[in-house]
Amino acid sequence: MKVAVLVKTALDTGQLRVRDTVATEETPLKISDIDRNAIEEAVKQKGQDKAYAVTVLKWGPLQKKAQEAENVLREALAMGLDEAYLVADERLLNASHMATAKALAAVVKKVGADIVLAGEATVDNYTGQMPARVAAELGWPVVTYVRELKVEGGRLIARRDLEDHVEVVEVQLPAVVSVTREINQPRIPTLLAIRAAMKKPVNRLTLADLGVEVAPRIAAAYKPLVIQRKKVVIKDGTPEEKAEKLIQYLRQEGVI
């Protein structure tokens, strides 16, 4: 089964510096956490076929980040994917989600996958809309929030993890599936796998290569979150003294 995995080369929000401004340009990229589960599932499901990592570079500056995104994709390859596609195009930086979905779907068509896997949401923007958008673009069914997946005879059976219940659903392939972190335990690549990944192909594409037209419609400006936490840390003293201090603070706040 040929699998395409949507791997978001996301901002590593743990390293994002937020003071007066939000420094996205200096923030390194990493594989969006939940996409690791999608990669793991792809490796399990692909059998004798190939599994591809597909990403659209969303954060600039383009030249610097494109190289970084390539390195991030090498990690996905080290986990067992066979080939990577990176769409790096000035017009896609901070562009609309619609354009991103079109670019992703175009790559999926190019590689000819039977199934598209993705994480339920990405760590930087957390909108969780891409799997459904890509499915709509491809005209395939979408199965979201999947925590268990089985494919047999061209049918896909999945357990969807919804708010108050779990739904077991069935669709015909091809399909787009978004997974939750519960679906598996992503592997940590061995040194050997990391070395092997250096030899696997990372293909760079532009919108022109894919024949995709985009018209940006969204604008976003970032500012530090106003409700910053107080970050008072009690480090010194005996456990007794620390407990006393914590209770004191919480009383002052009027929450206990």
């Binding site: 930087d124 923007n125 958008r133 779990v166 419609r217 706040e253 929450v255």
Partner: protein, 298 residues
């Protein structure tokens, strides 16, 4: 702006009413149409299974032609429908918005981004699809006359629901709790969680937990699970004990008034997201807290 509300509830209808145009509610039965009478200008009844995102999306696309905004709840199916609809309408999709207004013919909204370190001010020209973060829009939709109409549809779904299993549900209502004592991997065995239950009892709160406790170890049922895949909570006090503070967990506790954390690792990310942090072995400090608090509370 004219708004179409899908899976309508009072909060969504109120949010839609603030946009200043006609409000229509897309519902899936006559009974649901009855429920929106008096609070939406139109009730559009589409006879599709609300559990099937692709069928619902089909109905929304059909009904949305004369509306500039589609509003949905920030639920998992709400977001799935939103994504499908947005791509088909060629629309932007703003998820989990905290605020919403119309300015110069453009929809402006705010949402948390980057592991909740920042707020993004986003704007998009209509058509726009929006999901609304729960609890952000407090108000009553104005009273209006409601016209009930049917949406004629021939839709099949590509998805078949084979079975549905209810998640175990007890007396825990974390969404409504004022105080939550939450437990994480810092607890070494299941029996030790008793300490947290005792502390919660003394404080008059409920017990929550991080992902591994519910999903991997299954020490607590999922109804206790706080986070991106679990519940979003907004207590006045969230006390995180032995929780490292993954972004997915933080996403669930953002709206807490005060966050306090106990962890023996001073570099645990939870401290960056807490008002008060205590670097200490939970096994030492929790019994002391129980003791002190039970004394003063009598």
């Amino acid at each position: 702006m004219k708004a179409l509300v899908v899976y309508p509830n009072r909060e969504l209808l109120y949010a839609a009413s603030t946009l200043g145009g006609e409000v229509a509610a897309l519902v899936f039965s006559e009974r649901e149409a009855e429920a929106v009478k008096g609070v939406a200008h139109r009730a559009l009844v589409a006879e599709v299974d609300p559990r099937l995102p692709d069928a619902v999306a089909e109905a929304v696309v059909k009904a949305a032609q004369s509306y500039q905004v589609v509003l949905l709840p920030s639920t998992k199916n709400g977001k799935t429908v939103g994504g499908l609809v947005a791509q088909r309408l060629g629309a932007e999709f703003l998820t989990d918005v905290l605020s919403l207004r119309v300015e110069g013919g453009v929809l402006k909204a705010e949402r948390y981004v980057f592991g909740n370190k920042a707020v993004a001010a986003v704007e998009a020209a209509p058509p726009v699809v929006v999901t609304v973060a729960p609890g952000r829009f407090q108000g009553q939709p104005p009273a209006v006359q409601t016209a009930v109409e049917k949406v004629a549809l021939q839709v099949g779904s590509k998805m078949k629901i084979v079975s549905v299993e209810e998640k175990a549900r007890g007396a825990v209502k974390l969404e409504e709790a004022e105080i939550i004592v939450s437990v994480g991997r810092g607890f070494k065995k299941k029996e030790d969680l008793q300490m947290a239950f005792e502390l919660a009892r003394v404080l008059g709160g409920q017990v929550g937990c991080s992902r591994p406790i519910a999903a991997d170890l299954k020490w607590l049922p999922e109804e206790h699970w706080v986070g991106l895949s679990g519940k979003k909570v907004k207590p006045k006090l969230y006390l995180a004990i032995g929780i490292s503070g993954q972004p997915q967990h933080i996403a669930g506790i953002l709206d807490s008034r005060i966050i306090a954390a106990i962890n023996n690792d001073p570099s645990a990310p939870i401290f960056q997201n807490a008002d008060y942090g205590v670097v200490e072995d939970l096994y030492k400090i929790v019994p002391i807290l129980i003791n002190k608090l039970s004394k003063t509370k009598g």
